[in-house]
């Protein structure tokens, strides 16, 4: 039996903790207390489950990808369809959970960060539903890359604020959201989008995302009468992956995490935190991050805005170190190849983020026996990426 994390110091093995300015410490204590009280309160779970069912569209299906399985000739491939969740990605599970928590705490203002805009859209959506004031920080560069998501958030009544420091991407948006929170901590709830940040955030987000793994376990038992042999998920901060993996940590199931290798881990253009990072603190948590020899954070790169982050959740750092989960880098090109294959063989257009997990899972499936089964967390749909994919494909064909 493995130890249950986090421990009382908010640690996952060596990783995690609370590395934040003193101004935020009391707010984190309050948050932890409120979360623990809610998590033990049956009425909270009832309300959460009701909204997930009636508003978000849970449970999401488990789809057998028959045509693709036949094409690859290895293990049976199953897809956990978070892409069919309202707003198109797993992010909503967490946004709903945290908004309910904010309401319980009597906070009426929400601030969040977003990379590609998926977490921002999910947060703006839930704030619209519950009538909360919503501010979303987004890197200026990402605002340009994901113009439509900016408009979508504004349509939902959120205020989108540009983060103009650094590379103007997710890391910088997170910095600005935290700075805003430090200034407005008394009436504002910080709704973080991944299993990153100071304790108790990685624990809160994991607990609101574990429904992905819990459902998968049940669905595999019902459909196949057994657990899968392997599971794959993509990892930026790592919320869909931890949500999928967590219920399986004690089981005899191989777990694979795909991180963004960008142009390749041998280049400087990647976001492969586990493969190429070292130990350090980012956004309040001790974990792995991409940094130079002086401890300055290096700007990451990935085609996918959602994986374009120089850190990773502390629980992933622990799972990598203990060897329970195997993390592998997948390049832009490999992800797009998998995206194309899934779209053609199954009629499902996945997000570019998700496509990193698809590539890794396809490689694993080919080496597995036909009697084995692998589940992929299909964390989001690719509609938001159509323009990026089109530009990339046209760019490539005109180069030839």
């Amino acid at each position: 039996m493995q130890q249950i994390y986090p421990d009382e110091h908010g640690r996952y093995g060596d990783y995690g903790g609370k590395y934040v300015p003193e101004t935020l410490m009391y707010a984190l204590e309050e948050l932890e207390e409120a979360f623990n009280a809610a998590w033990e309160d049956e009425s909270f779970h009832e309300e959460y489950q009701d909204i997930l069912r009636e508003y978000a569209g849970r449970e999401t299906p488990l789809t057998f990808a028959g045509h693709l399985t036949e094409h690859l000739g290895g293990a049976e491939i199953y897809l956990k369809r978070e892409d069919l969740l309202h707003t198109g990605a797993h992010k909503l599970n967490n946004a709903i959970g945290q908004v309910l928590l904010a309401r319980r705490m009597g906070k009426s203002k929400i601030v969040a960060e977003t990379g590609a805009g998926q977490h921002g859209v999910a947060t703006a959506t839930v704030c619209a539903k519950f009538g909360l004031e919503c501010k979303v920080f987004m890197g200026e560069e990402d605002m340009e890359r994901q113009e439509l998501n900016v408009f979508r958030m504004e349509l939902l009544g959120a205020e989108v604020l540009p983060a103009s420091s650094g590379n103007k991407t997710l890391k910088d948006a997170t910095n600005e959201a935290i700075r805003y929170w430090v200034t407005n901590v008394e009436d504002t709830f910080y709704l973080i989008g991944s299993v990153v940040g100071p304790h108790p955030y990685p624990m809160i987000v994991r607990n609101y995302q574990r429904i992905i793994g819990d459902e998968t376990k049940r669905q595999m038992q019902t459909r196949c009468g057994s657990l899968p042999d392997a599971i794959a998920a993509c990892v930026g901060g790592g919320s869909n992956a931890i949500g999928m993996f967590y219920p399986f940590l004690q089981d005899d199931v191989k777990l694979y995490g795909a991180e963004a290798a960008g142009m390749g881990v041998h280049t400087a253009m990647h976001a492969a935190t586990i493969s190429k990072g070292t130990r350090g603190v980012i956004h309040g948590s001790l974990t792995y991050l991409i940094q130079d020899e002086n401890g300055q954070i290096i700007e990451p790169y990935s085609i996918s805005a959602g994986l374009d982050y120089p850190g990773i959740g502390p629980e992933h750092a622990h799972l990598a170190e203990s060897g329970r989960v195997e993390y592998t880098g997948v390049t832009d090109e490999e992800a797009l190849e998998a995206l194309s294959l899934l779209t053609k063989k199954e009629g499902i257009l996945p997000a570019i983020e998700t496509s990193h997990a698809l590539y890794l899972a396809f490689e694993k499936a080919k080496q597995m026996d036909r009697s084995e089964r692998i589940v992929i967390c299909l964390s989001g749909r690719g509609d938001k990426d159509v323009e990026t994919i089109r530009r990339r494909m046209e760019g490539e064909s005109s180069d030839e």
Partner: protein
């Protein structure tokens, strides 16, 4: 007092100063290493009791736009934690005798290794460390190694610290850094009314002098804090002058450099002279 030199410890300097205990913050390497050394010496001349030397960091969560820009300039010039510690050595050689507190975010310190950092800082001539993103829950290891090397670990207390105030105050060394109001660093015209009650509460709990920081930029604020706190920490207001004078500070003309340094000294004297 340090036997080898005539440098006071942070404790001694803080305890001996009459109001206001003046702790200026400057960013190492902004606009250039040589300029930082000259600014430090000018601040000493202008009456600084303790120098807070900032280590530039790529992601300074507790800082407003002004100090973010300052850190970016310093990083672009190649400044690092190692470089800043080397610079303290030079400052000492050039006659800086006030205690120096190294202000660094935790990541560069972890990258160097907490023990190595403390050892090198002490040997370079630093007297204290302040790590803004290392609350008391995470600081026991570095506090222990710092104590062994005779470095003070400066603690921060914030308006939201609530029940934490007493525990933090009881562990405070050197002086207690009291954050005036919520938010990031940067100049503010005035403090909210409730700030004074909060500072009084901190003062009551503290066994070491209390210095108020975040937003101090004018004489009026310093007057209002007289009798409430023991001193002030001033960062953004000084670095604002450094930003305005960045070209003059690295000018080939000595007179231009001196004029820029005089701007800083004049500001300090309007701030703290009675």
């Amino acid at each position: 007092m340090n036997k080898a030199t005539n440098v006071l410890t942070v404790e001694e300097a803080a305890a001996q100063a009459s109001y206001p205990l003046f702790v200026p913050f400057i960013m190492a390497g902004d606009p250039h290493e040589e300029a930082t050394i000259s600014i430090a010496l000018s601040l000493q001349e202008a009456g600084a009791h303790i120098l807070e030397l900032g280590i530039p960091y790529s992601d300074p969560l507790a800082d407003g736009p002004l100090l973010q820009r300052s850190a970016q300039r310093a990083l672009k010039g190649g400044m690092s934690l190692k470089g800043a510690l080397r610079m303290i050595r030079t400052m000492r050689e050039r006659g800086l005798t006030i205690p120096v507190v190294v202000f660094s975010y935790v990541n560069p310190v972890l990258r160097m290794g907490e023990e190595t950092f403390v050892k090198e800082a002490a040997s370079a001539g630093a007297n204290g460390v302040l790590i803004p993103d290392l609350p008391m829950e995470e600081s026991s290891f570095i506090s222990e190694v710092a104590r062994e090397k005779g470095l003070s670990v400066i603690s921060l207390v914030a308006p939201t610290s609530a029940h934490r105030i007493e525990k933090i105050a009881s562990q405070a060394q050197g002086f207690l850094y009291c954050v005036s109001s919520l938010g990031v660093t940067g100049t503010r015209d005035a403090f909210p009314d409730e700030a004074y009650a909060f500072i009084r509460k901190v003062k009551e709990a503290s066994t070491v002098p209390v210095a108020v920081g975040f937003g101090i930029s004018n004489r009026r604020q310093v007057e209002l804090l007289d009798g409430v706190s023991d001193g002030i920490v001033v960062g953004s207001a000084i670095m604002k002058i450094v930003e305005e004078q960045q070209e003059a500070l690295v000018s080939a003309e000595k007179t231009e450099r001196e004029q820029a340094l005089n701007e800083i000294k004049t500001f300090v004297s309007t701030l703290i002279s009675s």
